[in-house]
Amino acid sequence: MTDTGIVNISSFNKLKKSKNIKIKAIIKNLSVFYSDKCAVDNVSMNINAREVTAMIGPSGCGKSTFIRCLNRMNDVIENCTVKGSILIDGYDIYHPKIDEVKLRSQIGMVFQKPNPFPKSIYDNVAYGPRLHGIATKKNDLDNIVEESLTKAGLFKEVKDRLNDTAIGLSGGQQQRLCIARTISISPSIILMDEPCSALDPIATAVIEELIENLKKSYTILIVTHNMQQAARVSEKTAFFHLGKLIEFGDTKTIFTNPREKQTLGYITGRYG
């Protein structure tokens, strides 16, 4: 992060050492309100680096709102207030001195509906690097585009038509393009808000495989409605209900031996 807004770095380091794990983010007593409506209610959890953390729960349970807090996308929404704190690498991202625009360049996000810009495939991936002045020479930019597309597993399919419009790609390709666009500015965390909900099973499988590869270098938070998907791709799972974090733990435990009755009800489909 920036060198301003250092908050609690010492306690963060202590925690990191004491637990002897690779903690990426600490969320503490996070609550989100839309006007008066409470969407996320007092959630605390730790996110490990280079792991996939899945958020599951019924629609409207606040899981999307929750991950949108991590790159402060909720700032865009009027009447939305966030309470509590989120530390990423020891920096309080809601500290007044933290610039949310800068923050978002470090924390990428992939959305539910593939949203490539109505530009060429090349320009889509080059958008972020150009914006932040990462690559000034044409050659460097070409390399970044190729590298990002390769990492997103899309380069082979589109290398002959980089200048075609991205809108002509299939849904699955568009979503992988969005992932390439996200990693083009090398964020440290990637947030995925139901990235496969608009895709068919084959495209979903491709994306899941991609997530498997990406987690070697990125910390990933994924919101999903698909329980099998959460079980397949994630190390940790968090179950949300009515804005509350009901249960959070190893994916294996959550899916085989959940502590809470509500969790069991949801994962076995006997919800409600």
């Binding site: 996308m73 009027e78 978002r104 470090q106 949203n115 109505p118 914006l131 932040h132 809108i167 996200t182």
Partner: protein, 457 residues
Amino acid sequence: MYVVIAILLFSFYGFYLGKKKSANLVSNKVSELHSTPIYHGYYIFLWCFVPSLIVLISWQVLDNYLIKSLVLNLVPGFETLDKGNINFVFEKIKTMATQETIDPFFYDEQLIPASKKYNWLTKISNITLFTVILSFLAIVLVYVKNKIQAEFTARVYVEKFIKTILFMCSVVAIFTTLGIVLSLLLESLRFFQSVSIFDFLFGTHWSPQIAIREDQVGSSGAFGSVPVLAGTLLITLIAMTVSVPVGLFSAIYLSDYAPRKVRTIMKPLLEILAGIPTVVYGFFAALTIGPFLRKFGESMGLDIVSESALAAGLVMGIMIIPFISSLSDDVINAVPQELKDGSYALGATKSETMVRVILPAALPGIIGSILLAVSRAIGETMIVVMAAGMSARLTANPFEAVTTVTVQIVTLLVGDQEFDNPKTLAAFALGLQLFLLTLFLNLFALKIVQKYREKYE
């Protein structure tokens, strides 16, 4: 009058009948019908209403014409009357026939047989019309009623009828436009018979005088449209310089920067500008802005006349701001939130997102709004009549008085004019020129949009 009431009564009765009968056919088990009862009702209603309305209207047109010719034959010395007098005589006959008391101005002994004939003919005509329509309605009711069966596809027919009505409405608009263009074209051709097209298009001298006597001084008018067209373009350019930035920036502010509360107040306020009559803008330009600019110019050492292109252009620019801001605001708002989110999530600021993502995606709509504004500016008349002056001078200096195509059309056609000399016909040529100008502008913009458009769906 009675006929209309009869038609309406029959039609509504037909509607009721269709509804009732179809429901009774299946003893109110509506699911056994092909179409729900209300469609059977509409079906009969349309069969009663539409044809009788057509008969009624065409009857009125024809019978007026027929009666007139029949009656006028009875007028002594009819062959010697000219067109204006014929109409006057016919009015006389009508008044004599319909009024109980005798109006001395409209009374003429010679016309008594004609007025009697008029009375008789109208009566006959009305009775015939009434019988024809009533019998038609009766036949329709009996015949169409029998058509109603459980499997009768009334809904399909009604939908077809709706489609036809919609189609005809769009055709009306197209044919009206075609008619206008054609009349412009024909009158312009007449104009070009007396003035060469080359002189009109490239001549730099505009002074549309036509001599009344052969030996008058300056008897040959000059019809070079270049100074007039240049005036139009100059004022349009000034107007666009004001309205495009202001309109576009306010649209951007309203759609993406303004808090919702500000937006709900500001947008209607801006649209009020569009509701001010242009004549009000006109005297605002002529009485306030013009003198202000002259005084301002004096203090700066500039020579600005009271009726300047600048004053007219500025006020016109203000007038068309809402066209640009309101339409652009709508298209900017129509850009999906996902695209904006995608850009924000990559660490783009609001202005970066606006310039790189939203504006390219909204480009066709924005160009469209600007075009609409240009067309408005080119065609605007009142402001320039009042504030831009009349002198057809070829100049690019906005501080001078200029004249525009629309102003010239107005001055050519004001007052009693005969449409047989180049002076009045020139108005049509100017109109055609204006029309072609906006048409090509539209085509040009369409091409631009197709080339640079970033299509998001």
